[in-house]
Symmetry: D2
Subunit: 119 residues, 4 copies
């Protein structure tokens, strides 16, 4: 390696944002969900992750159409949470730095991305 | 083995109740929790588990004193969910049968028990 | 309710078996899995659940065909663990009582059942 | 905000590393663990997370002394996985970029950090 350096403040904050996304996804993946229980789960996901350091806001939207499609196709009146049912925005901040991150479905895969780094 | 038989209806329903307890505990163990976020998590746990088959009611009480003690002792303003912070009652039913189950701390261990089988 | 009684030893043991199944399923649901990583995950699931009280043996078989089908259909080289990829047998024991339980796919749903109660 | 820009390649890769850490921690937090079952769980954690995109290597060391202390203090012969029992290194790579990240206990808190960004 030609270059081996400490992370910048923005790189560290992007790392923090990633932690929040991995936490949110893998803490709650597999949770039984129905159209009736979706709102309370979305609130709990937001409130739980907002506890983590540097976490400014978490917004979880349940993709109701996708959930209803899965419920109609499945054998039970609930399904398990997976990325297909969620759209998530997480904003982390440290001092005057802000990192905006998002999870959206992209060709069948729940893609998590850094959208912008703001100062 | 002298005797090898199929389960009774009550035994199968107790098995169902156990599934709900294992699900509730291990789906949510590790979730970041604070006094502010505890209520929405308790609601989400109740609503999520009530989706499961034969589940009549789930009641999750957060042991606020215990949570405040842990928060005061720890280095962060949240802790991770574990049995120490919860009291849970789950009632499952099938036809005229009802099984009442409970989780309470017992000498430092979150003991899950069948309290009664009712008909 | 005409009748309200304490559980029998067999009913309590069926409850214990249910706890193990709920634990196994919801602790590990959502874990990234590929054909290469499946064997170590199956071993870890068995070893982890065997720690729990009264747990005599846990056998996790990964349904390799089903996993390969999902991998071929999906956009990534791993998928998330769900019941579709697993067959599980759990035996719990207490004194001379033994309860044999199983999870198998049944019409698209990972059905958990008490197979037999033995003495 | 004066400045609002897209992330650099290194920032995106730090975000990816964070995702792996959040996944590892919150997928496996709460798993029953003993000295006997620790090695298979550590392997499964490594293999599972290495499935994720850009993940070059995951090394999980169980802090055996800490685990033995907790087992001796507790009422059961297993405890639940939490950061106190783990030291983890995750290296992610993209093209000629490499990010080295680590989780270590720091004053009672499982601190996750970017150690270096290399090219």
């Amino acid at each position: 390696m030609d270059d081996n350096r400490q992370p910048t403040a923005a790189e560290s904050l992007c790392f923090e944002a990633g932690i929040k996304f991995g936490t949110l996804y893998h803490q709650f993946a597999g949770t039984p969900i129905s159209t009736a229980s979706a709102p309370s789960l979305a609130r709990a996901m937001e409130d739980a992750i907002e506890n983590q350091p540097h976490c400014q806001s978490v917004t979880v939207d349940v993709r109701t159409d996708e959930l209803e499609t899965a419920l109609a196709a499945g054998p039970a009146d609930y399904v398990e949470v997976t990325g297909r049912f969620l759209e998530v925005e997480i904003i982390v901040a440290d001092g005057d730095l802000e990192v905006v991150t998002r999870m959206e479905m992209d060709d069948g895969y729940p893609l998590m991305n850094v959208e912008s780094v703001r100062k």
